[in-house]
Assembly symmetry: D2
Homo-oligomer: 342 residues x 4
């Protein structure tokens, strides 16, 4: 068989480990050939390829990012996109595709499979918000990076009697905030899944100062205050109507400073959460995902994605993984609340 591999969406530690496992097992155990498509679905759409064999995957296990490049190109939004993909796959002699990506990338994979393309999906989202799998790779790395930052910030907060607001990734799901906040001993954790009361947050912060320790507030970038609490003046909106001055973290720090009378500072972790070498958890998970994906391709079990269930890596229908966002359930949030304000 000749098999194409592509990676789509935001980069994520573990992508290279998946590619390596797919190719290593595909070549050595099954004798398949591979071709890399560059930059997500843009690769098969425009016929952009890259050699992909044992030599190309040497040494990439510990490396972040993706040797294939990535993009957010969606062939279904391009005139004749599907036909071009089919033509390019045919020209390259590609019998099957391994598509590694998040909801968008796997959504395309699902539709292409319905249209007769042989696809196996590997779920990827640093936010851990894909249904059908217990965890996605990259998440553990992001949580560790955020936790290490929080560890560092504790000493600064306490030396200066300041509140430190740490804004982490998570537009729609608060997994990174929840886990990094628990692991880092945050005083409050705020998630997109639940609007927060800025007065309550200020109360927690004040309580923490009373025991002579300074608070760390972890806030997901998509968290929102209760309706009406964020009153914007005109000049705080940009021409698209977005809040101008930084994100929710900065807004919250300003509010807390005002309400508690204690200095507050914001740190926005941003892109450092998604780059660099994966943790052991993510390397093992992405390697096992890759091995299971190439097994599925080899067996002709298409239209599936690989998934973690407990300690097992299994296959589930592609459609199951991409239908709905996996958000933080209320009981997991309440479990954490016992630490708030103490």
């Amino acid at each position: 068989m000749r098999i194409g591999v592509l990676t789509g969406g935001g980069d994520c530690p573990g992508l290279n480990a998946v590619i390596r496992a797919v190719v290593r097992k595909g070549v050595t155990a099954y004798g398949h050939e591979f071709v890399g498509f560059r930059d997500g679905w843009k690769g098969p759409l425009e016929g952009l390829t890259k050699p992909l064999g044992i030599a190309e995957v040497r040494g990439i296990l510990p490396r972040g990012g993706t040797i294939l490049g990535s993009s957010r190109t969606n062939p279904f939004k391009i005139e004749g996109g599907v036909e071009k993909i089919k033509a390019n796959l045919a020209e390259q002699g590609v019998d099957a595709l391994v598509a590694i990506g998040g909801e968008d990338t796997l959504g395309v994979a699902t539709k292409l499979h319905d249209l007769g393309v042989n696809v196996v999906g590997v779920p990827k989202t640093i936010d851990n918000d894909l249904n059908g799998t217990d965890y996605t790779f990259g998440f553990d790395t992001a949580v560790n990076i955020a936790m290490e930052a929080i560890d560092r910030l504790h000493t600064t907060a306490e030396s200066h009697h300041r509140t430190l607001v740490v804004e982490v990734m998570g537009r729609h799901a608060g997994w990174i905030a929840l886990h990094a906040g628990l692991a880092g001993g945050a005083n409050v954790i705020l998630l997109p899944e639940r609007q927060f009361d800025v007065e309550q947050v200020a109360t927690y912060v004040t309580k923490r100062f009373q025991v002579e320790y300074a608070p760390i507030v972890v806030v997901a970038e998509g968290a929102q205050p209760l309706d009406g609490q964020m009153v914007l003046h005109n000049q705080e909106l940009d021409s698209f109507g977005h809040v101008r001055l930084g994100g929710i973290g900065q807004w919250l720090a300003e509010q807390l400073e005002e309400k508690t009378g204690k200095e507050a500072r914001t740190v926005v972790l941003g892109h450092i959460q998604r780059g660099g070498t994966p943790t052991a958890f993510d390397r093992v998970l992405s390697t096992r995902f890759g091995l299971q994906a190439i097994d599925a391709v080899h067996e002709g079990d298409f239209g599936k994605m690989v998934a973690l269930k407990g300690t097992d890596v299994v296959r589930i229908p592609l459609i199951e993984g991409t239908g709905e966002l996996k958000t933080v359930p209320i009981e997991r949030y309440e479990e954490a609340e016992v630490f708030f304000g103490n």
Copy 2:
């Protein structure tokens, strides 16, 4: 309620996080009081206690080790041990115990529960070999430490065209070797669960040198060669009949040097695998274990231990967790074998 807490067996990153979660939730949510027992079962046996409240658990989340100390004392091997424990618990006014430990510590907990002591167990083993739970805390930290060491050793191996044998923890179960080896891109992984053929290992090593890369061999301390391969001269045994010169790692390096004609060196990671600050995974897991344990105590649900099943922390009968060792199943080992020798 007045609740005693103890930690037994080898230390493990995450012990302090469990203690903190138990106390924080016990005090703030339920209003319980706590007393720390020192040095495992030795504490209740000899009446060695330590104050344990909100103040004592501040700042211990990221710290390795255990603020309560540990030991391997077994009260059932001591004349009148159980009676002494019961007397000391009564004297301290202790209504229930949270026992954090491995097979031995929880084995004692199980028997004491049968004898009427109110106990809830929290499983702890860095080796990840306790039944009934998907993972134990400390394991992820150990695997990451071993992986980082392997990452470092790759460059040395290649610069000097040497084989590097890395001996990791695991007397009876090879989980650390398997995960660290997968995560570190080991050339061969050797586990206690399966005797290895030193000739086969030498073949893998030789094959690796042929592609111009130097091999890393990861070996669990309890791994053994095929019967008859380790022929010992008298002077290689100490007075107890144990192998003198280092462990299996050193023996293997000598064998590989002889059989492949390439220099080989050994690194024994030893105690650095079990100390220091826990990873995010271990901090979250141990915190959730602690929260579930105090809930069980509060509800009077004794004779249980907490356990991870998928993404849920649940309770199972103590007896289920400690009966049998959880070793690496053959299919997990075969999954990894595709990387050997390449």
Copy 3:
């Protein structure tokens, strides 16, 4: 002797290591007593003290921040400040002070010494911009944190064919940018010491994309473009006339995106550069600074600060260390330029 210790200014990894060394040697070698003053000069000003002995300094060597707290209080800006300090020192029976801090803190120390207070200074600035010492502690830690962030960002930049602008600390001196940029393999490094031509930076960035690698631009927070290049609309200034929308990093990313036609993103490292456990270099340097400072106090050699010269820790007059800012000399910048744009 009874000796007061205080830490002033921004926190910095190594402060606790200095305190520990001062107290450990002062007590065990010389038999002195200590009292901690809280929150910089605010402590002696308001008589805020803290016990400080062997017990208090146990275990603080690896901890970031300062157990004494810090502030930017300047007693010379407060009516009767100096008299209050003298009165409080007398009341506490303090014979001498060890003042650990940057230009402001040591400036106060210098003036107090002229007014008859027995002071020895320990230089502290994460920016490494104090004259009279080769390095200050905290700087090496900050550079390593920034370098690790840059390491992570390389893979993201390349996977997405994006420019990544990393804004690091350094308002007036670009030492962190220079060292982190060199260590992280930055494509361009921009310092406060030298205005940059945004067109030239865009040329470097474009050149880098041509060799199929994505650029990392490291910019000190105090770096400025050539006069006239940053044309500000009114609404981009806040009420103090400062640029509103983020710092120089965000401005630069927007400019580069426009000029190069490639996506650009900014990461502002902020407070994570100054918190957390010190590197070995900083632990050794701050320990040696502390030992030399207590020797100076013991010998009555006041009005001095400790300093690193080559591999020696020596004493210099306080006035020499605080007179002028140590900026990056042009030849060090030119040394780095060979890497720009390649």
Copy 4:
């Protein structure tokens, strides 16, 4: 010019950073050409080369080891070695050599320069024991790795009330032990420069247990007890007369266990101290060494080696760097002694 580059002796973090800086500046600033010689002096001796240009040095800055390979081959110990080297250099059209290595490698460089070969040396020793330079690269990385190990071991030592003996590199000079011991808060530090009294060490250890903390003893592999304290039975020597059972660390742990009545364990850090990605200090130092070395070559300033003096990278005669070992001066050791036993 056509310039050869080689790396000799034990590998060391920063070697690749030197190679990269030499080639990057040599090509882009001066237009020189390069050829890599493989495996130290073995390369020019046997004519083993490797292409070396901008493409080959991309991405190697953060990588440990050496892309050129290394060996301990000494051409002066080989019949006709010098003539072979001269012939191979002529055949390759090589005008000058950059030799990166320790005492042995630079010793050969010195002699070859006397025989008319154009050589510039770059000093390399992880042990920091080369004269003529304040620091060598790789040392800071090794010290940080050892310090992190010690940080981890503290918690284990205290949880189990055990002594932990950490054996670090340093056969003839104790720089790594001294700096890692100071940075890690060791209870005792033992160096090759000064024989130790095992009774005194036991006293320190005992004292530490009395304050309820467990001791870490850091011992350089080349440290030795006072004459007569290590009484060996015949069977403890191997056929070369070397001590068989592990190194000095294990011997010391056994002695301390016996003399103090407290369990003692040994960790031998071994090869993990020399592999992996360099710290920022080492990346900056090795980059600056490389830049200065290529400048020297370009200017025809042969027979020199580069060196760090304070914050400057300078050139000194090769002979000055390699004559004598730079050991730890007694006053640096005494500076550290204040922490022993406390």
